[in-house]
Protein backbone atom coordinates (compact mmCIF):
# COMPACT_ATOMS: atom_id res chain seq x y z
CA UNK A 1 0.00 0.00 0.00
CA UNK A 2 1.30 3.44 -0.91
CA UNK A 3 0.37 7.04 -0.29
CA UNK A 4 1.27 9.87 -2.61
CA UNK A 5 0.54 13.55 -2.18
CA UNK A 6 1.54 17.12 -1.46
CA UNK A 7 2.85 17.96 1.99
CA UNK A 8 1.36 20.27 4.59
CA UNK A 9 4.24 20.93 6.98
CA UNK A 10 3.95 21.96 10.65
CA UNK A 11 6.32 22.48 13.58
CA UNK A 12 6.64 21.16 17.14
CA UNK A 13 3.80 20.46 19.62
CA UNK A 14 0.83 20.78 17.26
CA UNK A 15 -1.92 20.24 19.83
CA UNK A 16 -5.37 18.80 19.26
CA UNK A 17 -6.98 22.19 20.03
CA UNK A 18 -5.19 23.53 16.95
CA UNK A 19 -6.10 20.44 14.88
CA UNK A 20 -9.80 20.79 15.77
CA UNK A 21 -10.77 23.64 18.11
CA UNK A 22 -13.20 22.77 20.92
CA UNK A 23 -15.74 25.24 19.54
CA UNK A 24 -16.50 22.61 16.86
CA UNK A 25 -16.68 19.61 19.22
CA UNK A 26 -20.43 19.96 19.47
CA UNK A 27 -20.35 17.92 16.26
CA UNK A 28 -18.96 14.42 15.79
CA UNK A 29 -19.66 14.29 12.04
CA UNK A 30 -16.34 13.66 10.25
CA UNK A 31 -17.26 15.89 7.27
CA UNK A 32 -18.25 18.74 9.56
CA UNK A 33 -15.05 18.37 11.60
CA UNK A 34 -12.94 18.29 8.40
CA UNK A 35 -14.27 21.76 7.48
CA UNK A 36 -12.43 23.18 10.49
CA UNK A 37 -9.32 20.98 10.53
CA UNK A 38 -6.14 22.93 11.38
CA UNK A 39 -8.21 26.13 11.65
CA UNK A 40 -6.16 27.48 14.56
CA UNK A 41 -2.78 26.77 12.95
CA UNK A 42 -2.62 30.53 12.62
CA UNK A 43 1.12 30.67 11.98
CA UNK A 44 0.93 28.39 8.95
CA UNK A 45 1.59 30.06 5.59
CA UNK A 46 -0.89 27.82 3.76
CA UNK A 47 -4.60 27.50 4.51
CA UNK A 48 -5.17 23.79 5.06
CA UNK A 49 -8.89 23.44 4.39
CA UNK A 50 -8.77 25.55 1.20
CA UNK A 51 -5.86 23.62 -0.29
CA UNK A 52 -5.98 20.00 0.92
CA UNK A 53 -6.67 17.32 -1.68
CA UNK A 54 -7.36 13.61 -1.29
CA UNK A 55 -4.15 11.70 -0.64
CA UNK A 56 -2.13 14.67 0.67
CA UNK A 57 0.35 14.10 3.47
CA UNK A 58 0.87 15.92 6.77
CA UNK A 59 4.39 16.27 8.16
CA UNK A 60 5.23 17.74 11.57
CA UNK A 61 8.07 17.85 14.05
CA UNK A 62 7.93 16.59 17.63
CA UNK A 63 4.97 15.75 19.91
CA UNK A 64 2.28 15.97 17.21
CA UNK A 65 -1.27 15.73 18.62
CA UNK A 66 -0.47 16.69 22.21
CA UNK A 67 -3.17 17.80 24.63
CA UNK A 68 -6.79 16.71 24.61
CA UNK A 69 -7.74 13.08 23.93
CA UNK A 70 -10.38 14.12 21.40
CA UNK A 71 -10.54 11.47 18.71
CA UNK A 72 -12.15 14.21 16.64
CA UNK A 73 -8.56 15.29 15.81
CA UNK A 74 -7.45 12.20 13.84
CA UNK A 75 -11.03 11.88 12.53
CA UNK A 76 -10.87 15.44 11.14
CA UNK A 77 -7.45 14.81 9.57
CA UNK A 78 -8.59 11.55 7.99
CA UNK A 79 -11.85 13.04 6.73
CA UNK A 80 -9.88 15.91 5.15
CA UNK A 81 -8.36 13.36 2.79
CA UNK A 82 -4.92 13.15 4.44
CA UNK A 83 -3.44 9.73 3.64
CA UNK A 84 -0.61 9.72 6.19
CA UNK A 85 0.88 11.80 9.01
CA UNK A 86 4.65 11.75 9.46
CA UNK A 87 6.24 13.28 12.59
CA UNK A 88 9.37 13.03 14.70
CA UNK A 89 7.20 11.90 17.61
CA UNK A 90 3.48 11.71 18.38
CA UNK A 91 1.76 12.43 21.68
CA UNK A 92 0.65 9.07 23.02
CA UNK A 93 -3.15 9.46 22.99
CA UNK A 94 -3.07 10.77 19.42
CA UNK A 95 -0.84 7.83 18.46
CA UNK A 96 -3.32 5.32 19.95
CA UNK A 97 -6.30 7.07 18.41
CA UNK A 98 -4.76 7.21 14.93
CA UNK A 99 -3.94 3.50 14.98
CA UNK A 100 -7.33 2.62 16.45
CA UNK A 101 -9.25 4.45 13.70
CA UNK A 102 -6.90 3.45 10.87
CA UNK A 103 -5.20 6.77 10.12
CA UNK A 104 -1.68 5.80 8.96
CA UNK A 105 1.08 7.53 10.94
CA UNK A 106 4.86 7.18 10.78
CA UNK A 107 7.67 8.36 13.02
CA UNK A 108 10.73 9.57 11.09
CA UNK A 109 12.99 12.30 12.40
CA UNK A 110 15.00 12.71 9.20
CA UNK A 111 11.90 13.05 7.02
CA UNK A 112 10.36 15.56 9.43
CA UNK A 113 13.56 17.66 9.34
CA UNK A 114 14.01 17.54 5.59
CA UNK A 115 10.54 17.73 4.07
CA UNK A 116 9.14 21.21 3.40
CA UNK A 117 5.66 22.59 2.84
CA UNK A 118 4.48 21.72 -0.67
CA UNK A 119 6.97 18.91 -1.36
CA UNK A 120 5.59 15.91 -3.26
CA UNK A 121 6.08 12.80 -1.15
CA UNK A 122 5.39 9.09 -1.59
CA UNK A 123 5.10 6.68 1.36
CA UNK A 124 5.39 2.89 1.12
CA UNK A 125 3.62 1.51 4.20
CA UNK A 126 4.99 -1.99 3.73
CA UNK A 127 8.64 -0.96 3.88
CA UNK A 128 8.36 2.34 5.80
CA UNK A 129 10.31 4.06 3.00
CA UNK A 130 9.37 7.72 2.49
CA UNK A 131 10.39 9.20 -0.87
CA UNK A 132 10.63 12.95 -1.33
CA UNK A 133 9.91 13.29 -5.06
CA UNK A 134 10.60 17.05 -4.99
CA UNK A 135 14.02 16.75 -3.37
CA UNK A 136 14.76 13.32 -4.84
CA UNK A 137 15.63 11.80 -1.44
CA UNK A 138 14.46 8.84 0.61
CA UNK A 139 14.07 8.34 4.36
CA UNK A 140 13.43 5.18 6.40
CA UNK A 141 10.63 5.37 9.01
CA UNK A 142 10.49 3.22 12.14
CA UNK A 143 8.50 0.07 11.42
CA UNK A 144 5.40 -0.53 13.56
CA UNK A 145 5.37 -3.39 16.06
CA UNK A 146 3.59 -6.49 14.68
CA UNK A 147 0.70 -5.98 17.14
CA UNK A 148 -0.12 -2.61 15.59
CA UNK A 149 0.45 -3.79 12.02
CA UNK A 150 -2.11 -6.52 12.68
CA UNK A 151 -4.59 -3.99 14.01
CA UNK A 152 -4.12 -1.72 11.01
CA UNK A 153 -4.42 -4.69 8.64
CA UNK A 154 -7.68 -5.66 10.36
CA UNK A 155 -9.02 -2.16 9.65
CA UNK A 156 -8.64 -0.70 13.14
CA UNK A 157 -9.50 -1.63 16.70
CA UNK A 158 -13.26 -2.02 16.20
CA UNK A 159 -12.84 -4.50 13.34
CA UNK A 160 -10.19 -6.39 15.29
CA UNK A 161 -12.48 -6.51 18.34
CA UNK A 162 -15.31 -7.97 16.24
CA UNK A 163 -12.98 -10.78 15.17
CA UNK A 164 -11.86 -11.38 18.77
CA UNK A 165 -15.46 -11.56 19.96
CA UNK A 166 -16.46 -13.88 17.11
CA UNK A 167 -18.85 -11.26 15.73
CA UNK A 168 -17.24 -11.29 12.29
Amino acid sequence: MKANGTVFKYGDNIDTDVIIPARYLNSSDPKELAKHCMEDAIHSTVNFVENVKDGDIMVAEKNFGCGSSREHAPIAIKASGISCVIAKTFARIFYRNAINIGLPILECEEAADDIDMGDKVEVDFNTGVITNLTKNKTYQAEPFPQFMQDMMAAGGLIEQTKVKLGLK
Binding site: N13, A22, N26, K62, S68, I158, T161, L167
Partner: protein, 419 residues
Protein backbone atom coordinates in the same frame (compact mmCIF):
# COMPACT_ATOMS: atom_id res chain seq x y z
CA UNK B 1 15.00 -6.35 37.59
CA UNK B 2 12.29 -4.81 39.74
CA UNK B 3 9.14 -3.09 38.56
CA UNK B 4 7.87 0.45 38.99
CA UNK B 5 4.56 1.00 40.77
CA UNK B 6 2.78 1.41 37.43
CA UNK B 7 4.34 -1.75 36.01
CA UNK B 8 3.20 -3.75 39.05
CA UNK B 9 -0.39 -2.57 38.71
CA UNK B 10 -0.38 -3.37 34.98
CA UNK B 11 1.19 -6.81 35.51
CA UNK B 12 -1.48 -7.70 38.08
CA UNK B 13 -4.27 -6.63 35.69
CA UNK B 14 -2.72 -8.52 32.78
CA UNK B 15 -2.49 -11.72 34.82
CA UNK B 16 1.29 -11.70 34.52
CA UNK B 17 3.92 -12.17 37.18
CA UNK B 18 6.01 -9.39 35.74
CA UNK B 19 6.12 -6.98 32.83
CA UNK B 20 8.85 -4.77 31.44
CA UNK B 21 8.94 -1.43 29.66
CA UNK B 22 7.96 -1.70 26.01
CA UNK B 23 5.98 -4.93 26.41
CA UNK B 24 2.53 -4.94 24.78
CA UNK B 25 -0.18 -6.28 27.08
CA UNK B 26 -3.93 -6.51 27.41
CA UNK B 27 -5.07 -5.43 30.89
CA UNK B 28 -8.41 -5.76 32.69
CA UNK B 29 -10.16 -2.48 33.44
CA UNK B 30 -11.75 -1.42 36.71
CA UNK B 31 -13.33 1.71 35.27
CA UNK B 32 -14.07 2.81 31.68
CA UNK B 33 -15.01 6.46 31.59
CA UNK B 34 -16.20 9.15 29.17
CA UNK B 35 -17.73 12.63 28.99
CA UNK B 36 -20.24 14.41 26.75
CA UNK B 37 -17.65 15.25 24.08
CA UNK B 38 -16.01 11.84 23.75
CA UNK B 39 -18.84 9.43 24.65
CA UNK B 40 -21.10 10.15 21.64
CA UNK B 41 -18.26 9.00 19.35
CA UNK B 42 -17.67 5.98 21.63
CA UNK B 43 -21.38 5.06 21.48
CA UNK B 44 -21.23 5.12 17.66
CA UNK B 45 -18.15 2.83 17.71
CA UNK B 46 -19.64 0.58 20.43
CA UNK B 47 -22.72 0.01 18.27
CA UNK B 48 -20.51 -1.06 15.34
CA UNK B 49 -19.00 -3.88 17.42
CA UNK B 50 -22.33 -5.65 17.76
CA UNK B 51 -22.32 -6.54 21.48
CA UNK B 52 -25.62 -5.94 23.26
CA UNK B 53 -24.41 -5.00 26.76
CA UNK B 54 -21.52 -3.19 28.41
CA UNK B 55 -19.04 -5.53 30.10
CA UNK B 56 -20.05 -4.40 33.61
CA UNK B 57 -22.81 -1.90 34.42
CA UNK B 58 -20.96 -0.79 37.57
CA UNK B 59 -17.63 -0.16 35.86
CA UNK B 60 -18.67 2.27 33.15
CA UNK B 61 -18.88 5.93 34.16
CA UNK B 62 -20.32 8.71 32.03
CA UNK B 63 -20.23 12.35 33.10
CA UNK B 64 -21.69 15.10 30.89
CA UNK B 65 -19.53 18.00 32.05
CA UNK B 66 -17.91 19.76 29.09
CA UNK B 67 -20.73 21.60 27.32
CA UNK B 68 -23.28 21.24 30.12
CA UNK B 69 -25.71 22.52 31.17
CA UNK B 70 -26.23 22.18 27.40
CA UNK B 71 -24.72 25.21 25.73
CA UNK B 72 -26.48 24.80 22.37
CA UNK B 73 -28.70 22.47 20.35
CA UNK B 74 -25.87 20.31 19.02
CA UNK B 75 -24.50 19.77 22.54
CA UNK B 76 -27.98 18.93 23.75
CA UNK B 77 -28.22 16.28 21.01
CA UNK B 78 -24.88 14.80 22.14
CA UNK B 79 -26.03 14.67 25.74
CA UNK B 80 -29.26 13.03 24.65
CA UNK B 81 -27.28 10.29 22.87
CA UNK B 82 -25.26 9.45 25.97
CA UNK B 83 -28.23 9.71 28.36
CA UNK B 84 -30.20 7.26 26.21
CA UNK B 85 -27.21 4.95 25.92
CA UNK B 86 -26.70 4.99 29.71
CA UNK B 87 -30.40 4.25 30.30
CA UNK B 88 -30.58 1.51 27.69
CA UNK B 89 -27.45 -0.26 28.91
CA UNK B 90 -28.24 0.25 32.59
CA UNK B 91 -25.01 2.17 33.23
CA UNK B 92 -25.08 2.73 37.01
CA UNK B 93 -22.67 5.63 37.13
CA UNK B 94 -24.21 8.11 34.71
CA UNK B 95 -24.34 11.50 36.43
CA UNK B 96 -27.09 13.83 35.23
CA UNK B 97 -26.84 17.62 35.43
CA UNK B 98 -27.66 18.42 39.04
CA UNK B 99 -25.61 15.49 40.29
CA UNK B 100 -22.68 15.70 37.95
CA UNK B 101 -19.46 17.53 38.60
CA UNK B 102 -16.25 17.99 36.67
CA UNK B 103 -15.43 14.34 35.93
CA UNK B 104 -12.00 14.16 37.54
CA UNK B 105 -13.20 15.90 40.70
CA UNK B 106 -16.31 13.74 40.78
CA UNK B 107 -15.06 10.17 40.29
CA UNK B 108 -12.68 10.12 43.29
CA UNK B 109 -15.23 11.97 45.45
CA UNK B 110 -17.89 9.39 44.51
CA UNK B 111 -15.47 6.64 45.59
CA UNK B 112 -15.37 5.08 42.12
CA UNK B 113 -11.58 4.92 41.89
CA UNK B 114 -9.41 3.34 44.59
CA UNK B 115 -5.73 2.38 44.94
CA UNK B 116 -4.54 -0.34 42.58
CA UNK B 117 -7.27 0.20 39.96
CA UNK B 118 -6.65 0.34 36.23
CA UNK B 119 -8.76 3.11 34.69
CA UNK B 120 -9.11 4.37 31.14
CA UNK B 121 -11.04 7.50 30.37
CA UNK B 122 -11.86 9.18 27.10
CA UNK B 123 -10.48 12.41 28.47
CA UNK B 124 -6.80 13.24 28.63
CA UNK B 125 -6.96 14.33 32.28
CA UNK B 126 -8.01 10.86 33.40
CA UNK B 127 -4.42 10.65 34.69
CA UNK B 128 -5.71 12.58 37.75
CA UNK B 129 -6.54 9.36 39.65
CA UNK B 130 -2.86 8.46 39.90
CA UNK B 131 -3.06 10.58 43.07
CA UNK B 132 -4.90 7.62 44.62
CA UNK B 133 -2.23 5.09 43.66
CA UNK B 134 -4.20 3.83 40.66
CA UNK B 135 -2.99 3.41 37.08
CA UNK B 136 -5.14 5.80 35.17
CA UNK B 137 -4.73 7.15 31.67
CA UNK B 138 -6.49 9.08 28.95
CA UNK B 139 -7.55 7.38 25.74
CA UNK B 140 -9.80 8.17 22.79
CA UNK B 141 -13.39 7.26 22.05
CA UNK B 142 -12.61 4.01 20.20
CA UNK B 143 -10.64 2.70 23.18
CA UNK B 144 -13.57 3.67 25.39
CA UNK B 145 -15.95 1.77 23.09
CA UNK B 146 -13.86 -1.39 23.15
CA UNK B 147 -13.29 -0.98 26.89
CA UNK B 148 -17.05 -0.82 27.43
CA UNK B 149 -17.54 -3.91 25.27
CA UNK B 150 -14.73 -6.11 26.56
CA UNK B 151 -13.46 -4.65 29.84
CA UNK B 152 -9.90 -4.71 28.58
CA UNK B 153 -7.50 -2.36 26.80
CA UNK B 154 -4.14 -2.75 25.10
CA UNK B 155 -1.15 -0.97 26.63
CA UNK B 156 2.51 -0.61 25.91
CA UNK B 157 4.07 -0.94 29.36
CA UNK B 158 5.71 2.42 30.10
CA UNK B 159 9.13 3.13 31.51
CA UNK B 160 9.19 5.78 34.25
CA UNK B 161 10.62 9.04 35.47
CA UNK B 162 10.98 9.42 39.22
CA UNK B 163 10.38 12.79 40.88
CA UNK B 164 11.68 12.96 44.44
CA UNK B 165 9.84 15.82 46.16
CA UNK B 166 11.86 16.95 49.16
CA UNK B 167 11.14 19.15 52.17
CA UNK B 168 8.19 21.28 53.19
CA UNK B 169 6.78 23.52 50.45
CA UNK B 170 7.38 27.23 50.92
CA UNK B 171 4.33 29.37 51.83
CA UNK B 172 1.84 29.76 48.93
CA UNK B 173 3.35 26.79 47.10
CA UNK B 174 0.62 24.38 46.04
CA UNK B 175 0.45 21.28 43.90
CA UNK B 176 -0.07 23.54 40.89
CA UNK B 177 3.23 25.36 41.39
CA UNK B 178 5.01 22.03 41.78
CA UNK B 179 3.64 20.53 38.57
CA UNK B 180 4.11 23.74 36.56
CA UNK B 181 7.71 23.83 37.80
CA UNK B 182 8.20 20.21 36.68
CA UNK B 183 6.66 20.81 33.24
CA UNK B 184 8.85 23.90 32.83
CA UNK B 185 11.86 21.74 33.71
CA UNK B 186 11.22 18.72 31.46
CA UNK B 187 9.02 20.24 28.72
CA UNK B 188 5.66 19.30 27.24
CA UNK B 189 7.06 16.05 25.86
CA UNK B 190 9.55 15.42 28.67
CA UNK B 191 7.61 12.39 29.89
CA UNK B 192 6.30 11.23 26.48
CA UNK B 193 4.99 7.63 26.69
CA UNK B 194 6.32 7.38 30.28
CA UNK B 195 4.99 7.17 33.84
CA UNK B 196 5.75 9.98 36.24
CA UNK B 197 6.17 8.57 39.75
CA UNK B 198 6.12 11.12 42.58
CA UNK B 199 7.86 10.13 45.81
CA UNK B 200 9.85 11.70 48.66
CA UNK B 201 9.49 13.13 52.14
CA UNK B 202 7.77 16.22 50.71
CA UNK B 203 4.63 14.16 50.05
CA UNK B 204 3.67 14.31 53.71
CA UNK B 205 3.02 18.04 53.27
CA UNK B 206 0.87 17.58 50.17
CA UNK B 207 -2.87 17.19 50.63
CA UNK B 208 -4.90 14.85 48.42
CA UNK B 209 -6.08 17.94 46.54
CA UNK B 210 -2.45 18.93 45.84
CA UNK B 211 -1.76 15.40 44.60
CA UNK B 212 -4.82 15.37 42.32
CA UNK B 213 -3.57 18.62 40.77
CA UNK B 214 -0.07 17.21 40.20
CA UNK B 215 -1.26 13.90 38.72
CA UNK B 216 -3.85 15.76 36.61
CA UNK B 217 -1.17 17.63 34.67
CA UNK B 218 1.12 14.63 33.97
CA UNK B 219 -0.41 14.67 30.47
CA UNK B 220 0.89 18.22 30.04
CA UNK B 221 4.40 16.76 30.19
CA UNK B 222 3.34 14.08 27.69
CA UNK B 223 3.12 11.45 30.44
CA UNK B 224 1.09 8.27 30.13
CA UNK B 225 0.21 8.51 33.81
CA UNK B 226 1.27 10.22 37.00
CA UNK B 227 1.23 8.19 40.19
CA UNK B 228 1.70 8.62 43.94
CA UNK B 229 2.48 5.95 46.53
CA UNK B 230 -0.40 5.12 48.86
CA UNK B 231 0.11 6.60 52.35
CA UNK B 232 -2.04 7.48 55.37
CA UNK B 233 -3.59 10.46 53.62
CA UNK B 234 -4.61 8.30 50.67
CA UNK B 235 -6.15 5.67 52.91
CA UNK B 236 -7.98 8.28 54.93
CA UNK B 237 -9.42 9.71 51.70
CA UNK B 238 -10.43 6.27 50.43
CA UNK B 239 -12.08 5.38 53.75
CA UNK B 240 -14.08 8.61 53.65
CA UNK B 241 -15.24 8.22 50.05
CA UNK B 242 -15.39 4.57 49.05
CA UNK B 243 -16.26 1.08 50.17
CA UNK B 244 -14.68 -0.53 47.11
CA UNK B 245 -11.91 -3.04 47.76
CA UNK B 246 -8.47 -1.66 47.06
CA UNK B 247 -4.93 -2.98 46.65
CA UNK B 248 -1.81 -1.13 47.63
CA UNK B 249 1.08 -1.52 45.18
CA UNK B 250 4.60 -0.29 45.83
CA UNK B 251 7.50 0.18 43.44
CA UNK B 252 10.26 -2.40 43.89
CA UNK B 253 13.39 -1.03 45.51
CA UNK B 254 15.38 -2.06 42.43
CA UNK B 255 12.90 -0.66 39.90
CA UNK B 256 14.57 1.03 36.96
CA UNK B 257 13.90 4.66 36.06
CA UNK B 258 14.87 6.51 32.87
CA UNK B 259 15.73 9.52 35.04
CA UNK B 260 15.45 10.70 38.63
CA UNK B 261 14.77 14.34 39.46
CA UNK B 262 15.08 15.85 42.94
CA UNK B 263 12.97 18.89 43.69
CA UNK B 264 13.39 20.95 46.85
CA UNK B 265 9.84 22.12 47.56
CA UNK B 266 11.07 24.69 50.09
CA UNK B 267 12.87 26.59 47.33
CA UNK B 268 9.98 26.80 44.83
CA UNK B 269 8.29 30.09 43.97
CA UNK B 270 4.70 30.61 42.73
CA UNK B 271 4.89 29.69 39.05
CA UNK B 272 3.05 30.92 35.96
CA UNK B 273 2.93 29.37 32.46
CA UNK B 274 3.01 31.89 29.64
CA UNK B 275 1.27 31.39 26.28
CA UNK B 276 1.08 29.10 24.36
CA UNK B 277 2.54 26.03 26.08
CA UNK B 278 2.45 24.87 29.71
CA UNK B 279 6.27 24.53 29.58
CA UNK B 280 6.75 28.31 29.18
CA UNK B 281 7.03 28.84 32.91
CA UNK B 282 8.33 31.81 34.88
CA UNK B 283 8.42 32.36 38.61
CA UNK B 284 6.16 35.09 39.95
CA UNK B 285 9.30 37.21 40.43
CA UNK B 286 10.01 37.09 36.70
CA UNK B 287 6.56 37.76 35.22
CA UNK B 288 6.68 41.57 35.00
CA UNK B 289 3.57 43.65 34.35
CA UNK B 290 0.92 41.46 32.72
CA UNK B 291 -2.51 43.06 32.65
CA UNK B 292 -5.42 40.63 32.41
CA UNK B 293 -9.07 40.70 31.33
CA UNK B 294 -10.41 37.54 32.95
CA UNK B 295 -9.57 35.20 35.81
CA UNK B 296 -10.84 31.61 35.95
CA UNK B 297 -10.56 29.56 39.15
CA UNK B 298 -11.69 25.94 38.97
CA UNK B 299 -11.49 22.97 36.54
CA UNK B 300 -10.41 19.34 36.98
CA UNK B 301 -7.00 20.76 37.88
CA UNK B 302 -7.98 23.25 40.59
CA UNK B 303 -11.68 23.05 41.42
CA UNK B 304 -11.39 21.28 44.80
CA UNK B 305 -11.90 22.51 48.38
CA UNK B 306 -8.24 23.39 49.05
CA UNK B 307 -8.24 25.49 45.88
CA UNK B 308 -11.43 27.38 46.67
CA UNK B 309 -10.52 27.86 50.33
CA UNK B 310 -7.22 29.53 49.50
CA UNK B 311 -8.89 31.72 46.85
CA UNK B 312 -11.57 32.72 49.32
CA UNK B 313 -9.03 33.48 52.04
CA UNK B 314 -7.34 35.95 49.67
CA UNK B 315 -10.57 37.48 48.34
CA UNK B 316 -12.32 37.81 51.72
CA UNK B 317 -13.47 41.39 52.24
CA UNK B 318 -11.85 42.47 48.96
CA UNK B 319 -13.33 43.46 45.61
CA UNK B 320 -12.48 42.17 42.18
CA UNK B 321 -10.72 44.79 40.07
CA UNK B 322 -13.54 46.51 38.13
CA UNK B 323 -11.98 45.91 34.71
CA UNK B 324 -11.94 42.13 35.28
CA UNK B 325 -14.36 39.23 34.95
CA UNK B 326 -13.67 36.56 37.56
CA UNK B 327 -15.33 33.17 37.04
CA UNK B 328 -15.16 30.51 39.75
CA UNK B 329 -16.20 26.92 39.08
CA UNK B 330 -16.43 24.43 41.94
CA UNK B 331 -15.61 20.87 40.86
CA UNK B 332 -18.71 19.08 42.15
CA UNK B 333 -22.09 19.65 43.76
CA UNK B 334 -20.63 18.60 47.13
CA UNK B 335 -17.82 21.12 46.78
CA UNK B 336 -20.45 23.72 45.82
CA UNK B 337 -22.43 22.93 48.98
CA UNK B 338 -19.32 22.98 51.12
CA UNK B 339 -18.53 26.43 49.73
CA UNK B 340 -21.99 27.58 50.82
CA UNK B 341 -21.57 26.02 54.30
CA UNK B 342 -18.18 27.60 54.85
CA UNK B 343 -19.26 31.03 53.61
CA UNK B 344 -16.88 30.77 50.66
CA UNK B 345 -19.64 31.20 48.08
CA UNK B 346 -20.69 34.43 49.84
CA UNK B 347 -17.11 35.72 49.85
CA UNK B 348 -16.83 35.14 46.10
CA UNK B 349 -20.15 36.73 45.23
CA UNK B 350 -19.54 39.71 47.52
CA UNK B 351 -16.14 40.21 45.92
CA UNK B 352 -17.83 40.41 42.52
CA UNK B 353 -17.04 36.95 41.12
CA UNK B 354 -19.28 34.66 39.10
CA UNK B 355 -19.83 31.49 41.15
CA UNK B 356 -20.95 28.87 38.66
CA UNK B 357 -22.42 25.41 38.67
CA UNK B 358 -19.71 22.80 37.98
CA UNK B 359 -18.70 22.66 34.29
CA UNK B 360 -15.52 22.37 32.22
CA UNK B 361 -16.96 25.29 30.17
CA UNK B 362 -14.32 27.99 29.82
CA UNK B 363 -11.25 25.76 30.25
CA UNK B 364 -11.55 24.46 26.70
CA UNK B 365 -13.23 27.50 25.21
CA UNK B 366 -16.60 25.75 25.33
CA UNK B 367 -18.88 28.24 27.07
CA UNK B 368 -19.21 30.29 30.29
CA UNK B 369 -16.36 32.71 29.66
CA UNK B 370 -14.99 32.74 26.10
CA UNK B 371 -12.21 35.21 25.28
CA UNK B 372 -12.44 37.85 22.52
CA UNK B 373 -9.59 38.64 20.13
CA UNK B 374 -6.62 40.06 21.99
CA UNK B 375 -7.99 39.28 25.45
CA UNK B 376 -5.88 37.71 28.14
CA UNK B 377 -6.96 35.26 30.84
CA UNK B 378 -5.18 34.10 33.95
CA UNK B 379 -6.50 30.66 34.77
CA UNK B 380 -6.03 27.79 37.19
CA UNK B 381 -6.83 25.36 34.34
CA UNK B 382 -4.32 23.14 32.56
CA UNK B 383 -3.73 24.28 28.97
CA UNK B 384 -2.74 27.57 27.39
CA UNK B 385 -2.60 26.45 23.76
CA UNK B 386 -3.48 28.83 20.93
CA UNK B 387 -7.23 29.50 21.02
CA UNK B 388 -7.75 27.25 24.03
CA UNK B 389 -10.20 29.58 25.80
CA UNK B 390 -11.62 31.40 22.81
CA UNK B 391 -10.35 33.52 19.91
CA UNK B 392 -7.13 32.19 18.32
CA UNK B 393 -5.53 35.54 19.08
CA UNK B 394 -6.41 35.49 22.78
CA UNK B 395 -3.94 34.44 25.46
CA UNK B 396 -4.06 32.14 28.50
CA UNK B 397 -1.66 32.20 31.46
CA UNK B 398 -1.75 29.29 33.91
CA UNK B 399 -1.24 29.58 37.67
CA UNK B 400 -2.31 28.41 41.13
CA UNK B 401 -5.58 29.48 42.82
CA UNK B 402 -3.58 31.75 45.16
CA UNK B 403 -1.96 33.67 42.31
CA UNK B 404 -5.30 33.82 40.45
CA UNK B 405 -7.13 35.23 43.48
CA UNK B 406 -4.42 37.80 44.21
CA UNK B 407 -4.46 38.86 40.56
CA UNK B 408 -8.26 39.16 40.61
CA UNK B 409 -7.83 42.02 43.08
CA UNK B 410 -5.08 43.89 41.24
CA UNK B 411 -6.01 43.22 37.61
CA UNK B 412 -2.53 42.04 36.69
CA UNK B 413 -0.55 38.89 37.45
CA UNK B 414 0.31 39.29 41.12
CA UNK B 415 1.93 37.28 43.89
CA UNK B 416 -0.33 36.35 46.82
CA UNK B 417 2.48 37.74 49.00
CA UNK B 418 1.66 41.29 47.93
CA UNK B 419 -2.09 41.54 48.56
Amino acid sequence: MGMTMTQKILAAHAGLESVKAGQLIEAKLDIVHGNDVTTPVAVKEFNKIGVKEVFDKNKVTIVPDHFTPNKDIKSAEHCKIIREFANEKGVKNYFEVGQMGIEHCLLPEAGLVVPGDVVIGADSHTCTYGALGAFSTGVGSTDMAVGMARGVAWFKVPSALKFVLKNKPAKWISGKDIILHIIGMIGVDGALYKSMEFVGDGLEYLSMDDRFTIANMAIEAGGKNGIFPVDEKTLEYVKEHSNKEYTVFEADSDAEYDAVYEIDLSSLRPTVSFPHLPENTKTIDEVGDIEIDQVVIGSCTNGRMDDLRIASQILKGKKVNPKLRVIILPGTQNIYLQCIDEGIAKTFVEAGCVFSTPTCGPCLGGHMGILAKGERALSTTNRNFIGRMGHPESEVYLCSPAVAAASAITGKITSPESV
